[in-house]
């Protein structure tokens, strides 16, 4: 079922999302995703064949590049949701509400991968699947908070009230993000606060950061209802 946001924008079948609308929107949309897939492929190739195996941590260290990049992607998605929430309360425009919702859904997907890669790391490095240390606990609570956002959005009726309530929730939920970051840096416990990286390792990390940043932008942007307003639809 289409919601108020989609109706507000007036969707057009086959159109790219709003952020890539225009005469060559579909082409740029496809190009964007092709470049993103290429960047992910490059990052995987560098991890497999270029990055050396860490002499202290062993092969499991190769999971670090993906894990950290997706964690930063989660923060970006939460920030987008926060910006959308603030924007909605300020201007009451549907586009801000859509950004808030799309950012929250992307945050759920990305945070799920942070937790998934984290438990695999924990099992190999610490011998247990999970530890209730501060960074892991705050990460799990971040995941739960944004699951709550998505659930709240589905639960509340399709109305301005829903947008307002979710905007307030989105602002409050964002305050968990600094707790995850600060706990990982200042209360590392078993979770490392930093790793010594050689030049090939740093290059691999940069490749992952760029690829996952593009993927995050794609997830947030594509999650905003598709199609420019029909009156302005200049596709052939």
């Amino acid at each position: 079922m289409r919601d108020a946001t989609a109706r507000h924008f007036g969707t057009a079948p086959g159109a790219p999302p709003l952020w890539l609308a225009g005469p060559s929107g579909r082409l740029r949309f496809r190009l964007f995703w092709l470049v993103t897939l290429g960047l992910l492929g490059l990052a995987i190739a560098l991890t497999t064949w270029y990055a050396p195996i860490d002499p202290d941590l062993g092969p499991i260290q190769k999971l670090f590049y993906f894990h950290l990049s997706v964690a930063i992607g989660t923060f970006l998605a939460c920030l987008a949701s926060f910006a959308g929430s603030v924007g909605y309360l300020w201007q009451r425009e549907a586009i801000w509400d859509a950004l808030g919702a799309s950012g929250a859904r992307a945050a759920v997907a990305l945070c799920a991968v942070v937790l998934l890669t984290g438990v695999f790391w924990a099992k190999q490095a610490w011998g247990v699947w999970w530890e209730w240390n501060p960074p892991l606990t705050f990460s799990l609570s971040l995941f739960a908070l944004y699951i709550g956002y998505v659930a709240l959005r589905r639960w509340l009726a399709d109305s301005e009230r829903r947008s307002g309530v979710c905007a307030v929730y989105g602002i409050i939920a964002f305050f968990n993000v600094p707790l995850v970051y600060v706990s990982a840096k200042l209360l590392p416990d078993s979770h490392p606060s930093s790793l010594e990286l050689t030049a090939p390792m740093r290059l691999t990390l940069v490749a992952w950061l760029v690829a996952v940043a593009a993927l995050t932008v794609g997830l947030i942007g594509t999650g905003i209802p598709a199609g420019a307003p029909a009156e302005r639809d200049d596709r052939p």
């Binding site: 919601d3 991890t47 919702a101 998934l116």
Partner: protein, 36 residues
């Protein structure tokens, strides 16, 4: 399961989740639909 197997499995599952979600969004945007 060896550390190398774990690394491969974690990457495969994580990327499958993210790219699967991306494919769903792209398909939805192509249909001109929106989510709540």
């Amino acid at each position: 399961m060896s550390a190398t197997d774990t690394v491969i499995l974690a990457h495969a599952l994580g990327l499958a989740l993210l790219l699967g979600y991306a494919a769903l969004l792209v398909r939805r945007s192509g249909r001109g639909g929106g989510r709540r």
